[in-house]
C-alpha cells in the first residue's frame, strides 16, 4: 500500500465510528465461517445437492449491503450465501434451508441457490447466470413508480457480463433513470475459465456506453467497496439513475463442490490472493493499526462467530423436514 492510499484510508476510517467498522469485520468473519462450515458439511455429505462458496469475496457483499437500508432490494447469485448474510439473514434459517428443512427461508424448497428473504428485500439467489439483472431492474422500476426512495442492487458475477440480458437491463435502467446499482463481482473465473478467455474489452465501458457511471475498484477492500457503493446508492436515491461497479475479488474455492483440483489456475496464484489480498486479514490489520481493536478482541469476535455458526447449524439440523404434502403447496398463490 502506498502512502497516498494509506492517507486516504486513514481519512475514510476517521469518517466511521468504531461500532460500524467492527460490524463490517464481524459480518465478513461470519460469512467466511458460514462458508467454511458449509464446505465441511458437504464433505461429510450432510447437505444434499450442490453449493457455491463465496469465501474470499466477503468484502463485496458486506461493503455494498452495509450501505443499504433494510427495505432496499438485492438480487443475488448461485454464489449468494454472503449477500444473504450481509443483507441481514439469520444463519440458522439459512442452514435449515441448506439442509432442506422446514424452518429454512424457503421452507426447504429453494436450497443454496434460491435463498430469498423477503423481510429484508432479498429477492433471492438465482441459479440462472445473469437472471437477476432484469429482476433487479424491475424492482428498481417498482421502487420508482411507487415513489419510494428504495434502491435495487444487482449482484452478478463476471460470468454474467456476457449474457445478453445485461445489455437489455442496463439500457432500460439508463433510459428510465431507475434506482439500480449493478455490482459485478469479478472473481476472475466463470466456472472453469479465466475471465479474459471469455470476456472482451474493458468491461466498465459496457456501462459507459449507456451513459451509466461505471467504475472498477478493489473488491477485497471492504471500506473502499462501501464508499463506492454509498455514492452509487445516494445517486440512485436522489433519482439520478443507475450505476455500474466492477469489483475485483477472488474465489478461494472452486466453482462448486465438484471443482476440487482447480486445474485452470495455479496454487501459487491462490496463495498470493489469500496471503496478500485477503479482505478479512487486511481489514483486521487496519483495525489493529488504528487502535480500534486489540488482538484479543479480534480473537473474541472469531470465537463468538464460531459459536453462533455452530448454534445455527444445530438449529438447521434440528429443524424438521417439510411434511411430504408440502410438495404441492406454493405452486400457485391463492
Amino acid at each position: 500500500m502506498d502512502l497516498a492510499t494509506s492517507n486516504q484510508e486513514a481519512s475514510v476510517f476517521a469518517h466511521h465510528d468504531k461500532e460500524f467498522l467492527v460490524s463490517l469485520y464481524r459480518q465478513m468473519v461470519s460469512i467466511r465461517e458460514f462458508e467454511e462450515q458449509v464446505q465441511d458439511l458437504y464433505n461429510r455429505t450432510l447437505i444434499p445437492g450442490i453449493a457455491h462458496l463465496s469465501s474470499g469475496q466477503e468484502a463485496v457483499a458486506v461493503g455494498v449491503c452495509s450501505a443499504l437500508e433494510s427495505d432496499d432490494y438485492i438480487t443475488s447469485t448461485h454464489r449468494g450465501h454472503g449477500h444473504c448474510i450481509a443483507k441481514g439473514a439469520d444463519m440458522g434459517r439459512m442452514f435449515a434451508e441448506l439442509f432442506g428443512k422446514v424452518d429454512g427461508y424457503c421452507r426447504g424448497k429453494g436450497g443454496s441457490m434460491h435463498i430469498a428473504n423477503q423481510d429484508v428485500g432479498n429477492l433471492g439467489a438465482n441459479a440462472i447466470v445473469g437472471a437477476g439483472l432484469s429482476l433487479a431492474t424491475g424492482a428498481g422500476l417498482g421502487a420508482k413508480l411507487q415513489k419510494t426512495t428504495r434502491v435495487s442492487v444487482c449482484f452478478f458475477g463476471d460470468g454474467a457480463l456476457n449474457q445478453g440480458i445485461l445489455l437489455e437491463s442496463m439500457n432500460m435502467a439508463a433510459l428510465w433513470r431507475l434506482p439500480v446499482i449493478y455490482v459485478c463481482e469479478n472473481n476472475q473465473y466463470g466456472e472453469y475459465l479465466p475471465m479474459e478467455r471469455v470476456t472482451a474489452g474493458d468491461v466498465t465501458k459496457r456501462g459507459d456506453a449507456f451513459g451509466i457511471p461505471s467504475m472498477r475498484g478493489d473488491g477485497m477492500n471492504v471500506l473502499a467497496v462501501h464508499e463506492s457503493a454509498k455514492s452509487a446508492i445516494e445517486r440512485a436515491r436522489a433519482g439520478h439513475g443507475p450505476s455500474f461497479l466492477v469489483l475485483d475479488t477472488y474465489r478461494y474455492y472452486g466453482h462448486g463442490m465438484s471443482d476440487r483440483n482447480r486445474a485452470y489456475r495455479s496454487r501459487e496464484e491462490e496463495r498470493h490472493w489469500r496471503e496478500t489480498r485477503d479482505p478479512i486479514k487486511n481489514f483486521a490489520t487496519m483495525l489493529l493499526e488504528h487502535g480500534l481493536l486489540t488482538a484479543s478482541s479480534l480473537a473474541l469476535i472469531e470465537t463468538e462467530v464460531r459459536e453462533q455458526t455452530l448454534a445455527a447449524i444445530e438449529f438447521g439440523n434440528n429443524s424438521p423436514f417439510p411434511p411430504p404434502e408440502e410438495v404441492t403447496q406454493h405452486v400457485y398463490a391463492d
Binding site: Y73, T75, G104, Y105, C106, R107, G108, K109, G110, H114, A116, Q118, L123, G124, N126, A127, I128, A131, L133, S134, L135, A136, T137, G138, A139, G140, L141, G142, A143, L145, Q146, S152, G164, I165, E168, S169, N171, M172, L175, W176, Q329, H330, V331, Y332, A333, D334
Partner: protein, 335 residues
C-alpha cells in the same frame, strides 16, 4: 349479470381495451409495458387511449427487448406492482423462456410461498395472416406444461374481457393468448358499468349438442361452430365446449359433456405432436373411458413450420372441412 337486451356488440379488440382501461382505473399498481403499446396504441391498436388516460409512468413504450421487459415485469411484480407485459407475437415468447419458465413460474414455490408474481403476459397466437414461420405459431402448450403458470385462451369478446380482468387480479403469472384473427370479431358484452369477471377453470359450452363433443380452444371455437352448422344439416348434433383456460383446466366440464355425447374431438391450433389436444384427449380418454363409443380424435397444426405461401399455410391449421370429416368418422365410422 346483465340481461341480453343490455348487451352491446363490440369487437374482441375493444373488449381487451376496455378490460385494460377498467382495471388500470381500479388499481394504480397496474402498469403496461411493451413494444409500441403507448404512443402508437399497440400494433393491433388494442392499447389505444391508455397512454392519454394513465400517463407515461404507467403505460411504457419499451425497447425491443422481450427478455428484458419480461424480466423487468417479474421484478416489478415481486416488489408490489401488477405489470402487464405485451409480447407482440407469441413466437417471441421463445425469447422470454428464462424469465417466464425459470423465474416467474417458480418464484412463489422456490421462495416457500413468499414472493408472489402477479404478472400478465398478453400475447398472440395463430396462423392465417400469411406471416410465415416466425409470426404464426401457437405455443400455448409450452406454458401449460409448466407448473406455476396459468394459461388463458379466450375466444369471444365477452370471454376476453372477463378473463383478462381475472388474469390481472390473479396473484400468479398468467399467459393470455389472443388470436390475431379474432381481433375484429364481434360479440355481445355487458355495458361498461357491469363489473363482471370470469373465473378461471370453467369451460363454457358454446353450442349444445347430443352426438359429439368438440373441445375447441381460442379461434378453433369458430371453426367448430361452423362445422357444427354443416353437421346439423346431416342430423349430427355437435356440442362445442371451450375450456377457456388450459391451466387451470376444467376437466369436469369436458368429461361431463363427453359422458353425455359419448364421442369427442379435440381441436387446438398448436402443433398436434405433444400438444394441447394430446393432453385433453388423454384426460377424456381416461376419465370418460366407459362412456366413449369411439377413440377420442384430435386435430392440431401440422407438425411443420408454418409456411408463407397461402396454399401451403392453409393446409397446416385445423379447418372446418377437416373437423366435419373427423366428426363424421366419429359418428358413422367413416369420413
Amino acid at each position: 349479470m346483465s340481461t341480453l337486451t343490455e348487451l352491446r356488440e363490440i369487437t374482441f379488440a375493444q373488449a381487451v381495451n376496455e378490460a385494460l382501461h377498467e382495471e388500470m382505473e381500479r388499481d394504480e399498481k397496474i402498469i403496461l409495458l411493451g413494444e409500441d403499446v403507448a404512443a402508437a396504441g399497440g400494433v393491433w391498436k388494442l392499447t389505444e387511449g391508455l397512454l392519454d388516460r394513465f400517463g407515461a409512468d404507467r403505460v411504457l413504450d419499451s425497447p425491443i427487448s422481450e427478455a428484458g421487459i419480461a424480466g423487468v415485469g417479474v421484478g416489478a411484480a415481486m416488489t408490489g406492482m401488477r405489470p402487464i407485459v405485451e409480447i407482440m407475437f407469441g413466437d417471441f415468447l421463445t425469447l422470454v423462456m428464462d424469465q417466464l419458465v425459470n423465474q416467474a413460474a417458480k418464484m412463489y414455490y422456490m421462495s416457500g410461498g413468499r414472493y408472489k408474481v402477479p404478472l400478465v403476459i398478453r400475447t398472440t397466437l395463430g396462423a392465417g395472416r400469411r406471416l410465415a414461420a416466425q409470426h404464426s405459431q401457437s405455443l400455448q402448450a409450452w406454458f401449460a406444461h409448466i407448473p406455476g403458470l396459468k394459461v388463458v385462451l379466450p375466444s369471444t369478446p365477452y370471454d376476453a374481457k372477463g378473463l383478462l380482468k381475472t388474469a390481472i387480479r390473479d396473484d400468479n403469472p398468467v399467459i393470455f393468448f389472443e388470436d390475431k384473427l379474432m381481433y375484429q370479431k364481434k360479440g355481445r358484452v355487458p355495458p361498461a358499468s357491469d363489473p363482471y369477471t370470469i373465473p378461471f377453470g370453467r369451460a363454457d359450452v358454446k353450442r349444445e349438442g347430443s352426438d359429439v363433443t368438440v373441445v375447441a380452444t381460442s379461434s378453433m371455437v369458430y371453426v367448430a361452430l361452423e362445422a357444427a352448422e354443416t353437421l346439423a344439416e346431416e342430423q349430427i348434433s355437435v356440442e362445442v365446449i371451450d375450456p377457456r383456460t388450459l391451466t387451470p383446466l376444467d376437466q369436469e366440464g369436458m368429461v361431463s359433456s363427453v359422458t353425455k355425447t359419448s364421442r369427442c374431438l379435440v381441436i387446438d391450433e398448436g402443433y398436434e405432436r405433444f400438444g394441447v389436444t394430446a393432453e385433453i384427449a388423454a384426460v377424456i380418454s381416461h376419465r370418460a373411458f366407459y362412456a366413449l363409443e369411439a377413440p377420442v380424435e384430435r386435430i392440431g397444426a401440422m407438425n411443420v413450420p408454418i409456411p408463407f405461401s397461402p396454399i401451403l399455410e392453409d393446409q397446416t391449421i385445423p379447418n372446418v372441412d377437416r373437423v366435419v370429416r373427423a366428426v363424421r368418422r366419429l359418428v358413422k365410422g367413416n369420413g
